[in-house]
């Protein structure tokens, strides 16, 4: 049946078509949609979970694969960094059932964080990596990935980029394959599943290298890397990897009016990044006068081409990033194809063919991302600001480390409160470093609930063990929110599809030996300021749990919690409410502030900012 689905959904449907027994992962744009779509399917024979972090997700998936069943583990590039400690050891050990790791990279950093090129992880772990260049191909290739994993008995990467993971195309989706009900294997083999000693580890390393060689043979036989040669020897040879190859046809068409003839051009489309397609590259070098390499981010394939060129005594030109023609930053498109062709064939193609009127961009109003109307984090940010002021300090004197997720939005106006964003859980370690460096003013760490479970707990334990003077504010909105409301261990009764038990942060904190612990309601500013300012003055580790459900999610389930009315005669348009809260439900009327009833959640935070009683809470 033909379906309009995203690349993430293609991975999900493809894995079901491959009879996958378990799918695990941690949310992260642009990879999130795969597990989200599977959870919506209410699957009987396939276990699907949001794990506490990517490392645990990979370990769960590995256990399934070591028991002889098929498992898929999904993550964004940052998550791969977390999982890699486990992954390198699993790569050494290999697997029984197929184990596929789906990682999504983000050239152009559309979703923030970094332009990490995860292809290098495949090189480091000597693992095969497949890179589909379209949604439809992602659906097909995930099945090949499982087969390949079982043939070589080792884990296999499949990598998408944002532009495929999040884009929709029509795919012929076949029904899921039956999931194997075979009894799980229990293989006791310390030579394979432990790393005890040099002999075991080096033997496993030897096996790992052999597995990658074997993968190369399977890939060669499958023909997924495709070469097409021009009739006449010489001319331009284009080597395109992953999504870059999706723009070739469009580029050929755009270059045709300027004298480009595709029949005189050879191409090598690389869909298996690792192992390196050495024999195909050698054929290209033997056939072509000039080589154009098209790949996003790092010049990984390009360096391999240089190596083969050196070995084969090639004396033609190689066009790519290493000669400065292309950038290592951002996404590729048709413009790189055309520019490469023009450079390689010395065609005169106007520079401005794909250069629009960009001066218009300078006129656009800055739109810093901020918290939604009704977001509980707004109350927490305001309460921290007020607590700092109450203690006679300025924001510029109080270090507030930040973490990953919606809680980072405190960095932007109107709060300008949070100083740093590094990685999951880093707020805690960084805060301790500032204290160790001798910062005398109070140091505050801020973190969300999902991030706390993911990687915050070790940092907190370290602070307790070493008795560091810091205040941790856990902003618990009960969901992994920024990636689109996924359940985490603290989400109350979140997952009705699987068995699920809520893990309560309010019970974890006291068990760690933390003497000063409060729970606050971030919609109650005055009370929250009292608690936070008190915490900031006490020695040792203090934890404030600011707990209130994400307004978007709560509204979906139970509707708004209140209504705020503007008392027009009291309002003198001082804009204090807008200045302090930055709430998007406000707009300016001619004589008073206005509240958009479609946006207002009724949190009441603005009421406490008004000194003229112009905003009042009404029951609903």
């Amino acid at each position: 049946m033909k379906k309009l689905i995203t690349g993430n959904e293609a991975i999900a449907h493809g894995a079901l078509r491959a009879g996958v027994k378990a799918v695990t992962g941690y949310p992260g744009t642009p990879s999130t949609g795969c597990i989200t779509s599977l959870l919506a399917m209410d699957l009987k024979d396939t276990h699907v979970e949001w794990s506490v972090n990517e490392k645990v997700a990979l370990e769960v998936a590995t256990g399934v694969a070591w028991s002889g069943h098929r498992a898929l583990c999904t993550m964004k590039m940052s998550g791969l960094n977390v999982a890699y400690d486990t992954l390198i050891s699993v790569a050494y050990s290999g697997c029984e059932g197929g184990l596929v790791i789906y990682v999504a990279d983000d050239p152009g950093a559309n979703a923030g964080m970094c332009e990490q090129d995860s292809r290098y992880f495949a090189l480091m772990a000597d693992m095969p990596m497949l890179e589909p260049d379209s949604v439809a191909e992602a659906y097909q290739m995930i099945r090949f990935a499982f087969d390949l994993s079982e043939k070589i008995k080792g884990p296999v990467f499949i990598r998408l980029v944002t532009a495929i993971a999040d884009s929709f195309a029509e795919v012929e989706v076949e029904p899921p394959a039956p999931v194997s009900q075979a009894a799980p294997l229990l293989i006791m083999d310390i030579q394979k599943y432990t790393k005890a000693g040099s002999i075991i580890a080096t033997n496993q390393h030897r096996e790992l290298i052999k597995r990658l060689e074997q993968a190369g043979q399977v890939i060669d036989q499958s023909g997924i890397n495709k070469t097409t040669f021009s009739k006449k020897v010489g001319g331009l040879g284009i080597i395109a990897a992953g999504i870059a190859s999706a723009y070739l046809a469009e580029g050929f068409e755009a270059a045709a009016p300027f004298g480009f003839n595709w029949e005189e051009t050879s191409t090598l489309i690389i869909k298996a990044t690792n192992p390196f397609a050495a024999s195909e590259v050698r054929q290209m070098l033997a056939h072509c006068q000039t080589i154009l390499v098209l790949e996003e981010l790092e010049p990984l394939i390009e360096k391999g081409v240089y190596l083969e060129a050196q070995r084969s005594g090639y004396n033609g030109r190689i066009i790519g990033k290493l000669d400065g023609v292309f950038s290592r930053i951002g996404e590729y498109g048709v413009q790189q194809v055309v520019q490469g062709i023009a450079t390689g064939l010395k065609l005169s193609i106007p520079d401005d063919l794909f250069k629009g009127n960009t001066q218009a961009l300078n006129l656009a109003a800055a739109r810093p991302i901020t918290v939604c109307a009704g977001c509980p984090h707004r109350g927490t940010f305001i309460a921290i600001e007020k607590a700092i002021k109450k203690l006679g300090l300025k924001k510029s004197e109080v270090m507030v480390t930040g973490d990953i997720g919606c809680t980072i939005l405190g960095m932007n106006p109107p709060f300008n409160l949070v100083w740093s964003e590094i990685s999951m859980g880093a707020s805690l370690g960084l805060a301790q470093g500032y204290v160790r460096a001798g910062v005398k003013t109070p140091v505050i760490a801020t973190i969300g609930d999902s991030t706390f479970f993911h990687a915050g707990i070790p940092g907190l334990i370290n602070a307790v063990q070493h008795q560091v003077d810091l205040t941790l504010v856990i902003m618990d909105n009960r969901w992994t929110a920024m990636t689109g409301m996924q359940a985490n261990p603290g989400t109350p009764c979140a997952n009705t599809l699987n068995s699920f038990r809520e893990v309560d942060i309010a019970r974890i904190i006291p068990s760690l030996g933390i003497d000063h612990f409060w729970t606050i309601d971030p919609f109650k500013i005055k009370a929250s300021v009292e608690v936070i300012s008190q915490a900031m003055q006490l020695p040792g580790v203090k934890v404030v749990l600011a707990r209130q459900e994400c307004a978007i999610q709560a509204q979906r389930q139970t509707g708004i919690i209140g209504k705020i009315r503007v008392v027009e005669e009291n309002c003198n348009l001082c804009k204090l409410c807008l200045m302090i809260t930055g709430c998007s439900a406000f707009s300016l009327g001619s004589s008073s502030i206005k509240i958009d009833p479609e946006l207002c959640y009724g949190c009441g935070v603005c009421v406490e900012t008004c000194n003229r009683e112009a905003l009042i809470e009404e029951a609903i």
Partner: protein
């Protein structure tokens, strides 16, 4: 027929829904469609963009600058972010809603005037189809969803109608929005007949 559309707006306006409906109509009529919505880290009110590439099986998701056969923008300032992508001679559809960032409301930051947008659209050689939000029709005393109204204007007034037929759009609206079908169809049909 190849036809590329670039969308720009803010989260919460339903602009991505326009793209989804058009992609579904294309799929329903066996026209190849690639739709790439991009929300970035946007919460409600943040910049969103999307790209729809119709009529080509073998094509990447990103439209190059000067490559879009149409721009659909639903926020005055954010429409500027689509200007580099419009092809000379193409339709630049702007629903002139204004979502002022806080700094603008506080008088601390400038906001582009409609005349400035017009000037930039003209510099890009495109044809502005301006939809005044004040003309948004009402259904049973409530303003209709602007996105379906805008979709109506597009099908009623731009070259896209050569590729996408109005009855197919209505079919998808009916199958997609099972609740409030009447109000949604009204919003769409009002758009198809309005003169901009």
């Amino acid at each position: 027929m190849k036809y590329d559309i670039f969308f720009a707006g803010v989260g919460g306006q339903g602009i991505l829904t326009i793209g989804e409906v058009l992609a579904e109509v294309a799929a329903y009529k066996d026209t190849p469609a690639k739709f790439y919505p991009s929300k970035g880290m946007a919460q409600r009110g943040g910049f969103v963009k999307a790209q729809l590439r119709l009529g080509r099986e073998n094509v990447g998701p990103n439209i190059p600058q000067r490559g879009a056969d149409m721009v659909i923008a639903m926020e005055q300032s954010e429409s500027l972010k689509a200007i580099p992508f419009i092809k000379s001679g193409s339709d630049f559809v702007l629903y002139g809603d204004i979502w002022a960032p806080t700094a603008v409301s506080l008088g601390k930051a400038p906001y582009p005037a409609l005349d400035q947008i017009k000037e930039q659209v003209a510099l890009a050689g495109a044809h502005l189809v301006y939809i005044n939000p004040a003309n948004l029709p009402q259904f049973n005393g409530e303003p209709v969803h602007p996105n379906l109204f805008v979709l109506g204007v597009i099908i009623g007034q731009t070259k896209l109608r050569d590729l996408i037929h109005s009855e197919d759009v209505e079919h998808i609206i009916q199958s997609r929005f099972k609740r409030n079908v009447e109000a949604n169809l009204y919003a769409y049909r009002s758009g198809t007949t309005v003169v901009c």
